[in-house]
Symmetry: C2
Amino acid sequence: MIGKLIEFPHVSEDDGGLTYMEGKKEIPFEIKRCFYIYNVPENERRANHASVTTDFVLIAMNGSVCVELNTGKEKTIYTLTNRNCGLYVPKNTWMVTRDFTPDAVLLVLASTDYKSGKYMDDYQEFLKQGGSR
Amino acid sequence: MIGKLIEFPHVSEDDGGLTYMEGKKEIPFEIKRCFYIYNVPENERRANHASVTTDFVLIAMNGSVCVELNTGKEKTIYTLTNRNCGLYVPKNTWMVTRDFTPDAVLLVLASTDYKSGKYMDDYQEFLKQGGSR
């Protein structure tokens, strides 16, 4: 099993729902950066790389998204459909996101700023280097 | 004018949209905590308090939300409809969120963890203490 689902604390009351999380608590790192991905056409794939430096937590804030994680030896596929759950993706994991529903908004919390982040986007090279260690 | 709109860097390409932000950069503080609010019934108001300790950035990740900021002397009303824009709300600002569309998801980035946060939820007391300084 690659990656790890985190259930966030949440309350649902008559006046709405609230989900919350803190860096170094529910999120296993300090939140240095956020980004989100949306309006992804059907059949389009995003990511398709491994980060050498950065851990992520992915949350489907709206709609649903499929996330494929791959160490080079093992693959795990998640379908994120619930904004109360995040998927922790440790560094050196090959990641593909796909099957975005038209209304999907994927929030990503990252452990490094963009400048410190380093990506590997050649899958053969990723395998050659032994994938996830 | 109370609060400040921040336009986030974003790219829109054939394979989807991406919006990004970093703590201490686009976000004027370190991101210690995130929470999001959703499924808020029409005519319901949320927040209706001032944080004594915490700065926020509010982002309508989906749908739209109206945010009323109040220093006790001056009021500014924003309608957040664009996920490429965040609303910076400094501490000691009375805040009401309302008019959530049924599909609205309001993401809030916060400058403190929950334990360090302190709220004032008596508006008369807020005024008595002089509102925002």
